[in-house]
Symmetry: C2
Subunit: 204 residues, 2 copies
């Protein structure tokens, strides 16, 4: 794992050592074989733990997916949020958002790949609310910033439900492609292009 502290932060304490270990093994397997082809028994075997223990911690395969998904999401948010908050103007907030997002994907390719794969599983399950709340957190502060820009006449007025797609859609699409080896160049190689494109997409 590139950043060994992601799981330590999410599930701290010595008693959670086994839980963290299972999460790490699970992520590796999901990444290697895909979510569907990975079995609970396979994870149990590699993690050298017991079924009882796994079901104690996660309740179900879906539960394991959701746990991993939210660990990934929170790890991502921890990197992105400060960038938006600390920016001094709309353009800076956008550059911070996109820059830190691309940064995270390159730092945590396995978590990123997993998130794209698991999103539909998690969104279908009983975690919609927690997910919506996180999205709120991600774009809430940003939207305030954009409204400043609209008032100042530098950003175009449009339905607010459009901003998120216009800003991160391109970056996200490219990251997806990079994570499945359809393109070569690292997302962070093109940060300035994505920032510029996002800015042009919403500016006057």
């Amino acid at each position: 794992m590139k950043n060994p502290d992601t799981f330590d932060r999410a599930e701290p304490g010595p008693r959670k050592a086994n839980k963290r270990h299972v999460l790490r093994v699970a992520l590796a397997q999901f990444d290697k074989d895909g979510i569907d082809a990975t079995t609970i028994e396979g994870i149990r075997d590699l993690a050298e733990t017991s079924i009882g223990s796994m079901y104690h911690h996660f309740g179900s395969k879906d539960g394991l997916l959701a746990a991993l998904y939210f660990i990934a999401l929170d790890d991502q948010l921890a990197l992105i949020e400060p960038q938006i908050v600390s920016a001094s103007d709309p353009r800076g907030a956008i550059a911070g958002l996109i820059g830190s997002y691309l940064e995270w994907v390159v730092q945590q390719p396995k978590l990123a790949r997993f998130m794209f794969q698991a999103r539909s599983y998690v969104a279908a399950g009983p975690h919609k609310d927690a997910l919506a709340e996180r999205n709120q957190r991600r774009y809430g502060t940003l939207l305030k910033r954009l409204r400043e820009g609209v008032k100042d006449g530098v950003i175009r007025q449009m339905p607010s439900e459009l901003y998120a797609s216009l800003l991160v859609g391109q970056s996200e699409n490219y990251c997806r492609a990079w994570l499945s080896s359809r393109v070569q160049g690292k997302p962070t190689d093109y940060t300035s292009i994505f920032v510029e494109a996002a800015w042009r997409s919403i500016s006057k």
Copy 2:
């Protein structure tokens, strides 16, 4: 089904009636409960057919997913391709691409939703090649158009692996959001915004 001829075109003939019927039922179930929660037995039951018949036609659950996926992909391409080919200039090609893509998603929300969900399953399986070929078909002609634009000085020169993301990333992201009810406005309500944003993203 909004467009009842999609399956008729993909699997024509009276002998394929049952196969088509299974495909329709399967799509409805995947859409209702998600891919993972839908069982072969559930589809068999609703379609009032037999397991033997289903495995004869599709070989496996993955096979069923792949069959549906490529029917959807071809249906989409059938709408998009002519728009790119018939356009007279780069900007027209881009407008055609985005406009027809948004159009298709709104016409075929179930197929579109399914494609987003099934992509990772299909990409993991033994159909990478067929998928890559289709993508080639989708962006090959377009890239030629863009190169014209670069020569004429209206489009910025950049690594060609970037164009696809810069052009359709925003639209795709919004469609995803619309298909999972995170936003209200129909994608086609915002066609001109997405076309304009795409153009600005790659133009000089």
